[in-house]
Amino acid sequence: MKPLIQLNGVQKYYGDYHALRDINLTINEGEFFSLLGPSGCGKTTLLRTIAGFEDVSDGTVMISGQDMSGVPANLRPTNMVFQSYAIFPHLSVGENVAFGLRKLNWTKVEKSKAVEDALEMVGLAGFEKRAAHALSGGQRQRVALARALILKPKVLLLDEPLSALDKKMREQMQVELIRLQRNVGITFILVTHDQEEALVMSDRIAVMFEGEIGQLDDPETLYRRPNSRRVAEFIGKMNFLPTVVKSRGETITLDVAGLGACQISAEQAPGLSQGQAVGIRPETLAILFDGETTKGREVNATVDEVVYYGDMTYYDVRIKDVPEPLTIAMKNLIGRPVLDIGDPARIAWDERALVLL
């Protein structure tokens, strides 16, 4: 994998406001990379410094080994899909898509062929003559994609491209974007605040908080081994149990409230130095029904709350000596009953699912 974009010590100030704090990042060729974070975390600012719409206050942005400082947006090998799509309303779909070709010395035939291909790629073949303002949200998004991809940029930047679509359309476009990225092989950098979207689509994800990168990993590592409590809380749901570290070394011995003594490996303990709690995901806990047994360990609890979702049931259960109830996600398999509030429950858990944060 060849590095395509390198950010070294990038800082951005707006007056006194420190929007980007020492960002160091390498994004590879052909990668689907996501910048994930709550609003105001600097993810869009970071994307705009790569696009060339914002100058960096300090540090360098390199694309294909070339320093981009002083290079304006129109001369960078990047193209962008804007959150509002920014489809030019006074032009037709074809003219919108062909906009980037204006500066090229192509013949009319070559240009219209390129427009045709780009529209076909996004599933809008034959839409050239349509008025841009007569399109639906999903179609506008596709036009924006075709317009940005027609120049075959090295990097496609996507600024929350799916946030304006309804849930169904969004899920469909997620799959289409992944497929499109595989077909064209261009590096995609996606900005999103939707953790699920980032997990579904990305090869790697940088989670940002307050202008800093909190964690940079592939989706599975990010989900299973968050390196801090804020990452764990931002991505998915996690239960936290007060913990005391008893011994350190190759394996670490903990005393976890409600669960008792347990041992974890060093890689399960990113927060060993200040660790005061272990995290455990709701789906790694299970309620044992009737004769069921577990290879892991077991603890007794009482059902505190039941939320029925159809395919899943979410239980909040109380364990003795634990201040907060634990959330457990259970699949509604055939023959499995749904418990009531106040019912006793045996909880199966496993040391391998714990993360010390």
Binding site: F53, N74, F88, H90
Partner: protein, 266 residues
């Protein structure tokens, strides 16, 4: 019901004086009074024989067109700067630029006369009137164009930049067509203000009177009052034509941009 009566009464109050114009323009009497004494086109004939009237109209049109273009150009610059997220001293500059809107015209006229004659020592000409009209029209243009520029999605211009256009060509290819309805409105307003502006023109006019100054001159001779009525009739007719044209242009612009129609003149 009361609201309807009120609305009708208001419309009569607003338009009755204007309806009197054509009435007396075609009335066969030099005295403006009822009862009407008969139909004539004499006053229009007199208008067409008048030698100095075409000159006054020509003057006014030249001044109004130049004013419309210059003040709209200045307005575009100011509104564009005002739409930028970060522009040094934006608020205070905007405040000062809009100030002529509330200055009494007579004060502007007198002080400009002093500056032009006493301080700069320039002779009075159409250009002195144009510069003064640009001064009073620009705030109106900025107010109109601000609306057009602030409704514009800032990513539009960035998208054009991103697709390889320079700042200037992005502005020309994307921003300008999208704010064109605002530009046309701005030019029309400036044109209208300049065309019927009297006080400043009266103070700063050189050897060539503008139309309002010329009409004011006519009023000293009671006999020429019906001629003024005839002239007024033509002007009202032209205004309605112009306004209709502007509205057609505006609606076409909105339709093309696919936006919701919110207001307008007609």
């Amino acid at each position: 019901m009361t609201l309807r009566i009120y609305a009708i009464a208001y419309l009569i109050f607003l338009y009755a004086p204007i309806l009197l114009l054509p009435l007396f323009a075609f009335n066969d009497a030099t005295i403006i009074a009822f009862p009407l004494s008969g139909f004539t086109t004499e006053w229009f004939a007199e208008l067409s024989n008048n030698k100095s009237l075409p000159r006054a109209i020509g003057n006014s049109v030249v001044i109004a067109v130049t004013t419309a273009i210059l003040s709209t150009l200045l307005g575009i610059c100011a509104a564009r700067a005002g739409a930028m997220p970060r522009f040094p001293f934006k608020r205070s500059i905007t405040g000062f630029v809009m100030l002529p809107l509330v200055l009494p015209e007579i004060i502007v006229a007198v002080s400009l006369l002093i500056v032009i004659r006493q301080v700069l020592g320039i002779g009075l000409s159409n250009w002195t009137i144009i510069s003064a009209h640009v001064l009073i029209c620009t705030p109106f243009c900025i107010a109109i164009l601000n609306g057009a520029f602030q409704n514009l999605d800032p990513s539009m211009e960035e998208a054009a930049l991103d697709l390889g256009e320079t700042r200037w060509s992005a502005f020309r290819l994307v921003t300008l067509p999208l704010v064109m309805p605002g530009i046309i409105s701005s030019m029309l307003i400036a044109f209208t203000i300049s065309l019927d502006e009297f006080i400043i023109a009266f103070f700063l006019t050189g050897s060539n009177a503008t139309l309002p100054v010329y009409i004011w001159g006519l009023l000293r001779f009671p006999g020429s009052l019906p001629v003024v009525m005839a002239l007024g009739t033509i002007l009202v007719g032209l205004s309605i034509l112009l306004l209709t044209f502007a509205e057609i242009m505006r609606r076409r612009g909105i339709r093309r941009a696919g936006r919701k129609d919110t207001g307008g003149f007609l």
